[in-house]
């Protein structure tokens, strides 16, 4: 179904009018509404950062609520045809559509978030969200009295699975017997269902809630039940002022500004960027609603990961079946192993769906 909001349509209409001067036109494709207060919201903040930094040289357009089906290709092409020279497509499911359009328009520059297919004019970028997950695991194990964490998953892709593993590895440094209950909602965005999943986890004894879905419903539900929780993608503190411990914030602004500058200077090349706490592509929201010693521990963990002295997937990593995972990255798993992760680490008492 074509979900094309009025606001986006209006913006596109404005964006296609002939500019007075030759400004660089930059286009963005979002999978959700910019009002999701999560994934798409953060990408739009990144766009706003570009406008703020380079507003006199660029003109931006965005299309929100673009579904990851055939609609995506049409939407990307629409931006390409209407004079946009740099186009960001911001969801994993836009990968093949972006590759197709990029091949068709070799003189334009494309940037695809969280994917792995590159072309001469198509770069990829993503965040090392697992670094933040590890810190959340440490905090969760400290905060949990029952020793059971509740984890709401969207869809079982490697990014989500590596997040669960990083959380578990972080938590095990505090409590080796920590348990995690995982519920998959099968969608990125369904506030009602995310809330139901949070309720189910709490009812089954989880006393700290974390999610890898796109809305603030889980934080809101945890707040209602008086249980601590983590925000996701953006700072969700206003949905649970006494609930949110911290949140993993996707900070795309600096990257978007850099890449846009490169196009303006004619120096853009196709690259693969995977930024974490160090490059501040992943940022942690303030540590709140926790005792001072837990806060200190979280800050130390964050500093160690940012400095490179601590790697969430440092070897040996033991898989669920008890076998030690081959250590391809020297002291830790290499990026390929993390990007393609499809197994749970030891201690996760569940099965990867479909395996």
């Amino acid at each position: 179904m074509r979900k094309f909001t009025l606001a986006a349509a209006l913006l596109l209409a404005l964006g296609t009018q002939a500019p007075a001067q030759e400004k660089l036109k930059v286009g963005y494709i979002y999978v959700g509404p910019i009002g999701d207060f999560g994934w798409s919201y953060q990408h739009n903040l990144g766009r706003e950062a570009v406008v703020k930094a380079l507003g006199d040289k660029v003109e931006t357009t965005y299309l929100e609520n673009v579904s990851e089906g055939p609609d995506a290709e049409r939407s990307i092409e629409q931006l390409a045809r209407s004079g946009h020279k740099l186009i960001f497509t911001t969801s994993f499911g836009f990968m093949d559509a972006t590759v197709k359009v990029a091949k068709k328009y070799p003189n334009l520059f494309f940037e695809h978030a969280t994917g792995y297919k590159r072309e001469k004019n198509l770069a990829t970028y993503s965040g090392r969200f697992y670094e933040g997950r590890y810190i959340q695991g440490v905090i969760a194990a400290k905060m949990s009295k029952s020793g059971v964490m509740g984890y709401i998953g969207s869809v079982p892709i490697p990014e989500v699975i590596s997040g669960i593993n990083a959380t578990m590895l972080g938590a095990q440094t505090i409590n080796p017997n920590i348990k995690v209950k995982i519920i998959w909602v099968g969608e990125w965005f369904n506030p009602g269902k995310e809330a139901d999943a949070a309720k189910a986890l709490i009812d089954q004894g989880a006393d700290v809630i974390m999610q890898h879905t796109d809305s603030a419903a889980a934080v809101e539900t945890a707040a209602k039940r008086g249980i601590p929780a983590f925000g996701q993608d953006s700072d969700m503190i206003k949905f649970g002022p006494k609930t949110q411990l911290t949140a993993i914030i996707d900070n795309w602004g600096p990257y978007y500004v850099d890449r846009t500058k490169l196009v303006l200077d004619g120096k853009w090349t196709s690259t693969d960027t995977w930024g974490g706490l160090k490059s501040k592509m992943v940022v942690m929201a303030p540590y709140t609603n926790m005792p001072a010693d837990v806060k200190k521990l979280a800050e130390d963990t964050e500093a160690a990961i940012a400095a490179g002295t601590l790697h969430p997937f440092k070897c040996p990593v033991v898989a669920q079946d008890g076998k030690t995972v081959e250590c391809k990255g020297g002291a830790n798993l290499d990026d390929g192993q993390i990007l393609g992760m499809n197994f749970y680490v030891k201690g996760v008492d569940d099965k990867v769906p479909g395996k």
Partner: protein
């Protein structure tokens, strides 16, 4: 609070928006009109309901705003399909797309705001009863409204003369017209009522279920409500059973995952829809003739001869 009690409470909460929206659509379809715009009316109810509650700081006024928004959307549908005899399927789909977009625009300023959630009933002694106390006497007003609503529709359809006329209109608008009944006026009223119910269902989502507004937050519940009407073979009693079955499967699949039963979540998520298909097959087998449960004039435009 025991696990069973918690599950039952979650099931009731998950079933209520479905029941509210579906009972309105049931009456609409009984009048012979197919309004596929339930999702659009519902999300408008969610957006305007939240906006109303935020601006007035009153759950009641917010709910009324949601109902009104649903009715306004329904009025557009009625003007097009009844006034101008435009194709109902196309208009309904357009109404859904329109509603999703417009609600995003209206709600944009309210995203991230907080309201006081709809209060839950509390009767000393009764609400404190073990197990059944919270379930029977501790719900919010929407839950009780949904039960009253569906009982009212049942009474109206089967125990009143206007209800009989409405059913006749849905089954054969030509005959109803020949007998002198105002087919279009009846249908317009039914469509407005359906819009009010969908708006109420939307308001429930943004005022009680997850008390905030986010664009697209209905997430397909309007479509499930439409499926439920078919599942219930256009009968209010079965509608209640169906809504609670859908709600139960949704919640139980989450609990099964949390308990680590090892059933693939993808399969569990598809169970409600699988159940719909199975029930449809059973109904048509038992009746011997497929599809005869539907009102005979459903979805057909009516243009009276002069």
């Amino acid at each position: 609070m025991g696990l069973l009690e918690a599950i039952v409470l979650s099931v009731i909460a998950a079933s209520t928006p479905l029941l509210l929206a579906a009972s309105g659509e049931l009456l609409v379809e009984r009048a012979g009109v197919l309004n596929l715009g339930v999702e659009g009316m519902m999300i408008m109810g969610a957006a305007c309901g939240f906006a109303g509650a935020y601006l007035t700081d009153s759950t009641l006024l917010g709910t009324l705003a949601g109902i009104l928004a649903g009715m306004l959307m329904a009025a557009v549908f009625a003007a097009l399909t009844l006034g101008l005899a435009v194709n109902q399927v196309a208009t309904g789909l357009a109404l859904t797309i329109f509603g999703l977009g417009l609600s995003g625009l209206i709600g944009a300023g309210f995203v991230g705001q907080k309201i006081t959630p709809a209060p839950q009933l509390f009767i000393p002694v009764l609400t404190d009863l073990p197990v059944i106390g919270r379930i029977l006497f501790g719900q919010d007003a929407f839950v009780y409204a949904s039960i009253v609503l569906v009982a009212g529709i049942w009474w109206f359809l089967y125990a009143t003369r206007p209800g009989l006329v409405l059913r006749a209109t849905g089954d054969n608008h030509g005959s109803a017209h020949a007998l002198g009944y105002p087919v279009l006026r009846l249908r317009a009223l039914a469509v407005l009522f359906g819009g009010a119910c969908a708006g109420l269902a939307g308001a429930y989502l943004s005022l009680a279920y997850t008390p905030f507004f986010i664009a697209g937050m209905t997430a397909g519940r309007g479509w499930i409500a439409l499926a439920l009407v078919v599942f219930a073979s256009w009968r209010p009693g079965r509608l209640v059973a169906g809504a609670y079955l859908f709600g139960a499967v949704t919640i139980l699949q989450l609990h099964a995952q949390g308990a680590g039963l090892g059933i693939p979540p993808q399969l569990m998520s598809s169970l409600p829809y699988l159940a719909t298909i199975i029930v449809l097959v059973i109904i048509s087998r038992v009746r011997g003739t497929a599809g005869s449960a539907a009102p005979a004039s459903l979805g057909l435009a009516f243009v009276p001869d002069r």
